[in-house]
Amino acid sequence: MTAVLEKRPGGASVARPPARRRRRGRGRRLTILAFTAPWLIGLTLFFLYPAVATLVYSFTNFDLIDNPTFAGVKNYVFLFTSDPLLWTSIGNTVWLTVALTVGRVLFGLVAAVVLVRIKRGAGIFRTLFYLPALAPPVAASLAFVFLLNPATGPVNQFLHLFGIQGPLWFNDPAWAKPSLAVLGLWTSGTIIVIFLAALLDVPGELYEAASLDGANGWQQFRSITVPAISPVITFAVVNSIITGLQYFTEAVVAGAVASGSSYTSGSSNNLGYPSNSTLTFPMWLYEQAFHQFHMGYASAMAIVLFIVSGVFTVVLVNRMRSAGIGEEEE
């Protein structure tokens, strides 16, 4: 009700009694506090507290049953000197992160450039390109283990038509990660949609001017398209790296199904099948924390993951900031 005064031109708000303004200010603060309360609690309970607790746990021995006991930097020393699978899991995570990021961004760019130029049936193509991205990761992983089945899967059948002996895919340590990368390409619809939206925002006059100057398609792509959508490409790359660092579901499910076992049932001897080639860092962390109950040690691993993903998060937040994400439209 007092807001009326503020809106009236001619300095009417100056005339408002200070007491009322104060009351209004307090009411406003209470409104803001009430509206943001869920997040203030959520942030404290499910992010700030666990982050601090993880750091504390990382300096302890903790098995969930007994109280944590102080262990100094023992967990970190073991992590970098004695864990037999740490570097395997880091190597696999880096491999998958790089392959998925490069593969999905390049493929997404090609698919979006093709889509933006298609006139007739554009809607159908867009739907088909995006649809697989919605498939539940567990279902998609199962489907690809079937499709890439070395003996009877359709993909090796297809290769056989050309006289090619297909690889063992998920059953070969050298091919298991590339198989996961292929699965990643199939579900790259989200990146395609983001690139497509960015391409549609590039002013058409730029291309007309360039083609008048005799620039060919590739030159136009390099000197107009790429610079125009480079913020979106950066966003996609950094976002994809952060997602890659969390890579878990597809590797767990594909490894378990290809080996004929199940991770859920607790038999974790086939984790990272075949031969630890699909064991990612988050999987090894999960195994240590929730199957071996080395929770102090797993917390030290979590801190390492926190620092690495934190670096990329800072990069992304800075990009968003410079793109004016905190800005408001009037």
């Binding site: 807001a3 409104t31 803001i32 607790a53 093709v114 539940p136 359709p154 939206a197 004929g260």
Partner: protein
């Protein structure tokens, strides 16, 4: 084409020279060939899943791609092979309650972060982005310990209840959408003496429906597709498995039955695909707002 339309000084040609037309046709052909190839590659997996799902046990083990006998009753058999209805109920419980609680808690937060100005707003918004990007494995251990103390591990509540306290991605997505509504709508409601709660419910929620709907869709989809959360909390308690967890172990239980495994896969994918065809626009808008406009 630019030559004919932009420069009248050049003699206007009704038909471009033959080599230009030919090159243009080749470009058109190449473009559509690539598009069709990608489309086939994207759809083929779904077709093979559907075909295998209706094969007999024996045929699903052969390299055959086309069913000799169409065993539609595989879709009935799959419910006998595993208590899928229980898992379906659990998935729905998780997805529906999460989405409902998320809307209740996150819409006001997104409103305060987009429609009101106050000190610390941007800082709190950055906390939303950081929380959204943080790998769930980083903070999973203390949260698990917390729920273990409350004796709620083994159930889906540790995944549902946090939605009472705002979901970072949903807040982010809705904030990005709500901030595009011109401030003048709120201002004129304020002039009419409306409280912020009234403005939120009567002005912003109706106008922000597309953004809120997109957030609700993604919330539902994320819960439906989630594997890490249900595996962590219900892995040891089969009665509370969701479809994702059940599907991941289906094949090991029914060792060689690819046909039933694929039928189960179809059943888990189906609701998502149906949802997409009904709400395609919201999905696409949601991605654009979370990606590009950010």
């Amino acid at each position: 084409m630019a030559i004919t339309t932009v420069r009248p000084a050049v003699p206007v040609r009704r038909r471009p020279p033959r080599d230009v037309a030919w090159n243009r046709f080749l470009a058109w052909l190449g473009l559509h060939a690539v598009a069709v190839a990608i489309a086939i590659a994207f759809i083929a997996p779904l077709v093979f899943i559907l075909l295998t799902a209706v094969m007999t046990d024996q045929q699903a083990l052969t390299p055959d791609l086309w069913p000799r006998v169409w065993r539609w009753d595989n879709y009935v058999a799959v419910f006998r092979a595993a208590p899928l209805l229980t898992y379906l109920g659990n998935s729905l419980l998780y997805a529906v309650l999460s989405t409902g609680l998320m809307l209740l808690s996150s819409v006001p937060v997104a409103y305060a972060m987009s429609r009101l100005r106050w000190r610390g707003r941007d800082l709190l918004f950055y906390s939303v982005i950081v929380a959204m990007l943080l790998p769930p494995q980083v903070i999973a251990i203390p949260i698990y310990v917390l729920w273990a103390h409350l004796h709620l591990t083994g159930t889906l509540w540790p995944l549902i209840l946090p939605n009472l306290f705002g979901d970072a991605f949903s807040i982010f997505l809705m904030r990005q959408f709500l901030i595009t509504i011109p401030q003048s709508y709120s201002d004129s409601a304020r002039v009419d003496g409306a409280s912020e709660l009234q403005i939120l419910l009567r002005v912003i929620v109706p106008m922000g429906k597309p953004g809120i709907a997109a957030a609700a869709l993604f919330s539902f989809l994320n819960a439906w597709n989630d594997y890490f959360g249900p595996l962590l909390y219900t892995g040891e308690n089969q009665a509370n498995w969701t479809l994702s967890v059940a599907l991941a172990s289906f094949h090991s239980v029914h060792q060689v039955q690819w046909n039933l495994t694929m039928a189960a896969t179809v059943l888990v994918m189906l609701p998502v695909i149906v949802l997409f065809f009904f709400a395609q626009k919201q999905f696409i808008e949601g991605i654009k707002f979370s990606g590009v406009k950010g």
